[in-house]
């Protein structure tokens, strides 16, 4: 990034969880990297100085799951549209699941995504390669080639492998190359046809349910296979108290497993479905308030080391229909910061802890040197005003997908600047 300007960001509260830094300090950037924190090196002449007084300066966020819908589903979103949404949300790295069209099951698709995202230069898009060809759960992909093409991990998006033997072999083969597997813990048979947490609300509304056991059965299977094969697995999007409890127990025994949670799971619950709001049709489903509290506790205790947006932008038609017929998922990038800040406000963790789970936490799962602000590190930064109040509206929403239950609800915390490789990719 030689064309990146020399920048000084001054007077901000600089928080870097990797080094434990939390104090007002200036930061100086050159050639796309962090040059110095504190005093500028002698003779440093910035091209531009940003005044971050009253604001927080931190590493750019790393999002482990955000769909950009390109290639193949451009009626829903594109790398450009979601790149703008990511930049406006402080997200400088995002992982896109392999359920594009075509599927990211060969190096060409992975390289295409890299190329398009580089051309737009708004956010770093890391493609998650498929574990099986066409996500069909039968033949494993050319995993080594996918790794070489820049896939930091492999997964099955929301189509878990049914055949346990195939799952075992996929884990083994991936372990050969030290590839991490992103696994959505959802038993395909137990969740078949379901569109809501199987509980009081689904019973009352007559919605086909997805039982808690759909998650715990899958967690149990995959933990057993991880232990058997020595593969490193990451549970993408846990939703139940029992699921995180099983993960905690396995981690304590040294199983190489980690987990994350989508931010909306920490706020919404099955009760938000009571009026058949299609924007609350999600997979995994919104579960009980008790599950939500357990997920928060697991995050606070470090059982879960990352939060993510689980961003799934949809075209309006995808959400226009009877609840079970609508497409699951919500547009989550733009609510990442305000929801994460609300967790701080509600005492789940402090500001440093929150930023950790949006930066070094997910970066460690990716085994990438991202999400920190030491001299020499890539100048991916987010500067945000933690007090700014705003209300999402269709007119100001940036993502192409307007499918969020938070539309029209006042939120606190807004990004002022986002820098990717030292270049300003967003400023308000």
């Amino acid at each position: 990034m030689l064309n990146a300007p020399r920048l000084s960001i001054r007077h901000g509260r600089l928080i870097d969880p990797a080094s434990g830094h939390d104090a007002v300090a200036d930061i100086h950037l050159a050639e796309g990297r962090v040059l110095a924190i504190g005093a500028a090196p002698s003779g440093f002449q910035p091209d531009r100085t940003l005044d971050a007084r009253g604001q927080v300066v931190c590493p750019g966020f790393v999002d482990l799951c955000a769909r950009v819908r390109e290639p193949g589903l451009e009626q829903k979103a594109t790398i450009a549209s979601e790149g703008r949404a990511a930049a406006a949300s402080g997200v400088t790295t995002l992982c896109c699941p392999p359920d594009t069209r075509p599927v990211i099951d060969n190096p060409a698709v992975a390289r295409l995504i890299h190329q398009i995202s580089k051309r737009h230069g708004l956010t770093r898009v890391l493609p998650i390669g498929a574990m099986t060809v066409g996500l069909e759960g039968q033949s494993i992909t050319e995993m080594a080639a996918l790794k070489l093409a820049g896939c930091p991990a492999l997964g099955q998006a929301d189509r878990p492998i049914r055949d346990t033997q195939v799952q075992r072999r996929a884990l083994e083969y991936a372990a050969t190359f030290g590839l991490t597997l992103f696994l959505l813990p959802l038993d395909p048979e137990l969740s078949a046809g379901g569109c809501a947490h199987e509980g009081v609300v689904s019973t009352r509304l007559g919605l086909p349910g997805i039982p808690e056991a759909a998650e715990t059965v899958a967690v149990a299977r995959d933990l057993a296979l991880a232990e058997q094969t020595g593969a490193r697995i990451h549970f993408r999007g846990l939703s139940t108290a029992r699921g995180v409890e099983m993960l905690a127990e396995a981690r304590a025994r040294g199983v190489r497993a980690s987990g994350d949670v989508a931010l909306h799971q920490l706020f919404l619950s099955e009760h938000d479905l009571e009026r058949f709001d299609a924007n609350c049709h999600l997979v995994p489903p919104l579960r009980t308030p008790a599950d939500r509290d357990a997920l928060r506790a697991a995050l606070a205790e470090g059982v879960l080391t990352a939060v993510c947006s689980d961003h799934q932008p949809h075209d309006p038609d995808a959400k226009l229909g009877p609840f079970p017929e609508t497409a699951p998922g919500l547009s989550g990038l733009e609510t990442v910061l305000p929801l994460a800040l609300r967790l701080v406000e509600e005492g789940v963790f402090d500001l440093m802890g929150m930023i950790e789970r949006l930066t070094v936490g997910p970066a460690a799962i990716l085994e990438r040197d991202l999400g920190r602000l030491a001299p020499g590190a890539a100048a991916d930064l987010c500067v945000f005003d933690p007090e700014a109040l705003w209300t999402p509206s269709p007119a100001t929403w940036i993502s192409q997908g307007h499918n969020t239950p938070f539309m029209g609800h006042e939120l606190r915390g807004r990004v002022s600047w986002t820098l990717l490789g030292g270049r300003i990719v967003f400023e308000r």
Partner: protein, 332 residues
């Protein structure tokens, strides 16, 4: 996030009829009283009242139905409305038209009310959320969710035999899991003040946490469940549930949960037996019970017309009032 009840207008009157959930006891009683009044219409030489003259009602059935559609049609005609019958399962959706397109097209033909049946839960709510402001939606059954006019005709039938809801024990037997009828019945019974609502089924046919969700008690033994019951409601069981992971066979189901005179012997001597129809004789109940002295199954059908007249005339009547008060508001 609590939103106002989508079925009611700003004055709390019935605009749509989507579910029993969230409606007051007073409103349910009003529906029953109105229906009671309409029962006489069928006895007249001219079986019509002019309440909905000039209104257009479209029966929009995405699932096949004979009884429900026919009684809705008769109800609308007795109210002097014009009726369109659309059997959508064989027309538009096959051509890829969306539900919303169908709604918009019919709205353009100035339909005032849609009576909707659909295989997915939440369809009636979806239609109500997207219908033009002057249009009413009546739910004629959506997925497993609700069938509120069926529940109200059952309530009318019960009230005509057992006027005091506060004293009743009512048992509902069969496939609660898949039944929109049972869900609406449970809500209606509890809203009307029935203290003892029991549901009787094997565990595979009971939804999760059903007791908590509806304020009912679950039983797995028929004789025990109907003991001292005033009303026994049998549900239709779909044959495709048999020989699956849900139920082993019709034989075993009938042995355990089929209603016979003998099993009814633990119920109160004056207990009535109901069924929303059509009956699988020899599966849910034997013919002796279905055609016996306690059976009120055919009364249910008759009452269905009156209840549907009540609901339709209330919704359509309030449309008029609604637009009037809107006019008043704009003039004020």
């Amino acid at each position: 996030m609590t939103t106002p009840n989508p079925q009611l207008d700003a004055q709390g009157r019935l605009k749509h009829f989507l579910t029993i959930d969230g409606l007051s006891r007073e409103l349910l009683i009003e529906i029953l009283d109105q229906a009671e009044g309409f029962l006489g219409v069928a006895q007249q030489a001219v079986k019509k009242v002019p309440l909905c003259r000039g209104k257009v009602v479209a029966n929009l059935f995405f699932e096949t139905s004979t009884r429900t559609r026919t009684t809705f049609e008769l109800a609308a005609k007795r109210l002097s409305a014009d009726v369109l019958n659309l059997n959508i399962s064989t027309s538009s959706t096959a051509k890829g038209e969306t539900l919303l397109d169908t709604l918009r097209n019919l709205e353009a033909m100035h339909v005032d009310m849609f009576v909707v049946r659909h295989a997915e839960s939440g369809t009636a709510h979806f239609m109500a959320a997207h219908a033009a402001p002057h249009v009413s939606i009546v739910n004629a059954g959506d997925g497993r969710h609700a069938h509120p006019t069926q529940a109200m005709l059952d309530m009318l039938t019960i009230r005509r035999h057992k006027p005091d809801f506060d004293q009743l024990s009512v048992a509902i037997v069969g496939d609660i899991l898949h039944s929109r009828v049972a869900r609406s019945q449970m809500l209606a019974l509890r809203t009307l003040g029935v203290p003892d609502v029991r549901i009787i089924a094997p565990r595979t046919l009971l939804p999760t946490r059903v007791e908590e969700a509806f304020g009912v008690r679950a039983y797995h033994d028929l004789s025990e469940g109907v003991r001292d019951a005033d009303v026994v409601i049998m549900l239709r069981i779909q044959r495709e549930r048999m020989n699956s992971a849900l139920l082993p066979s019709e034989h075993e189901y009938f042995q355990l949960f089929g209603l016979t005179e003998e099993r009814l012997s633990t119920a109160r001597p004056d207990a009535i037996v109901m069924h929303p129809g059509p009956i699988n004789r020899g599966v849910e109940m034997d013919s002796q019970v279905a055609d016996g002295r306690r059976s009120v199954i055919l009364e249910q059908v008759t009452n269905g017309i009156a209840v549907r007249m009540a609901v339709m005339s209330m919704c359509l009547g309030n449309q008029h009032l609604g637009s009037q008060s809107q006019e008043e508001a704009t003039h004020a």
